[in-house]
Amino acid sequence: MKEELFVSGRNIPNIDPFLNIWHWQIPLYLYLGGLAAGIMFFAGYFTIMRKEKEMETTVKWAPFLVPIALVLGLIALFLDLKHQLYFWRLYTTIRFESPMSWGAWTLMLVTPLSMVWAASYIKELIPKWDWKFGFLNQAEALAIKHRKQMAWAMMLLAVVLGVYTGILLSAFNARPLWNTSVLGILFLTSGLSTGLAATMWMSKSKYERKVLSRLDLIMIGIELFLIIHMLMGFLAASEVQIEAAQLFLGGEFTVVFWVFVIILGLVFPAVLEILELKGFHVPVWIPALLILIGGLVFRFVMVEAGQITRFLY
């Protein structure tokens, strides 16, 4: 029999017996970041494709969620900091090797951009809107004029943001479950999917919903592929990664992962969307909500399970 134990009674809060240093704030932050990235990406995409009319919700209304999501995400991130008074230290330096650092800076760019984007459509949403100050009106005009450029920037930054939500985890080699390059692209795809779901839910246009639904099916397909790819990768890797994969294959997280993330969060909504496309009547909020919840649970599962996995002991 093998036995390994701390004989000095180590029992440090949030570290022992397993790491739990990141609580609900981080997965929520990652989720909201992904959602925001998803909405922004397609807003940008359809703007560039000149589909503002057909894809009105995608381009104009859903992006109002983005600054809200980002600000909530930032609040969550802030709440997770243990030395909050020193928060400003994040913005006194740029560290390219630290995903945390460039993530903070990306958000620094993305959040205002998303606000400007939303602001540029506010008069379409609320016709009586008045900017009160002249320079703001000028700014609005400027923004409306440069929508195309902004759309490109949004697409680009959305990809960065979406990938970042995954890389923030995968940068940590020390956590075998996160130690996979798939995570960046996987979280990006998942972010895009949740963005589509949120937009779909808001959209009143049948056409728009159909387009979004098709895109979403593609995303779900890619996601499933990446997840399987990730698990296979773990099983073919080192002992610690095999152990990590076991968390989902019989271990502690098996039920949440397969039931809530895979079946209820991906497969079932995909089936519903296919049925809808085939002409069956499915209330759109059901698959949308399932995808949104599935994405959230996925972030929680990955953050929680990842922290449990370790190299030693």
Partner: protein, 177 residues
């Protein structure tokens, strides 16, 4: 200069003195620790072996905790000692996630703390608190680049290993086996 520590697992009795000494020297709050003892048991009675290891931050040459720190609070000083500047640390926990040895902890005051190789003592020409207290004299500390340092001498004539070399961090705690 490259500071390192060697731990003779054949002499360590797992008493935890190094842990208490670190706590009182470095004012580590109750319930936390910068070093700790692991016991590893293998075999079956009566063919059993145990290994006792006093562990702490490895002051890795290739330190992911420093790389992932968004503020530069985690940094490397003379001799390869990995340190945290409390007033730059935001307590984001990234470095804790990054350390394969779980050598860092979140201090109740918010910042992240860990073994400093007692650099405040080294400055005064003293040894680290844990090395100086160890009743079995099984901890060796010093400059790897100096062939006459305790640690170099300890490593020269003995077999040793490092922990989780596959994590690629180039740890600087050597366990004499």
């Amino acid at each position: 200069m490259r500071y390192a520590m060697a731990i003779d697992t054949k002499k360590c009795v797992g008493c935890g003195d190094c842990v208490v000494a670190c706590q009182t020297e470095n004012n580590v709050p109750h319930g936390y620790c910068r070093d700790w003892i692991v016991e590893n048991v293998a075999g079956s009675y009566p063919n059993v072996e145990i290994e006792l290891r006093s562990e702490r931050c490895n002051h890795c040459d290739n330190s992911p905790c420093v790389r992932c720190c968004p503020t530069g609070a985690s940094h490397i000083i003379e001799g390869g000692i990995v340190k945290v500047t409390h007033s730059e640390c935001i307590g984001c926990g990234a470095c804790i996630q990054a350390c394969p040895y779980d050598a860092r902890y979140s201090h109740p005051d918010g910042y992240v703390d860990k073994c400093t190789f007692c650099d405040h003592r080294l400055e005064k020409g003293q040894g680290t608190a844990c090395v100086e207290v160890c009743p079995t004299n099984c901890l060796y500390f010093g400059d790897l680049e100096d062939p006459n340092s305790d640690v170099s001498k300890a490593l020269k004539n003995r077999k040793w290993k490092v922990l989780a070399p596959e994590a690629g961090t180039k740890p600087q705690l050597y366990f004499l086996t």
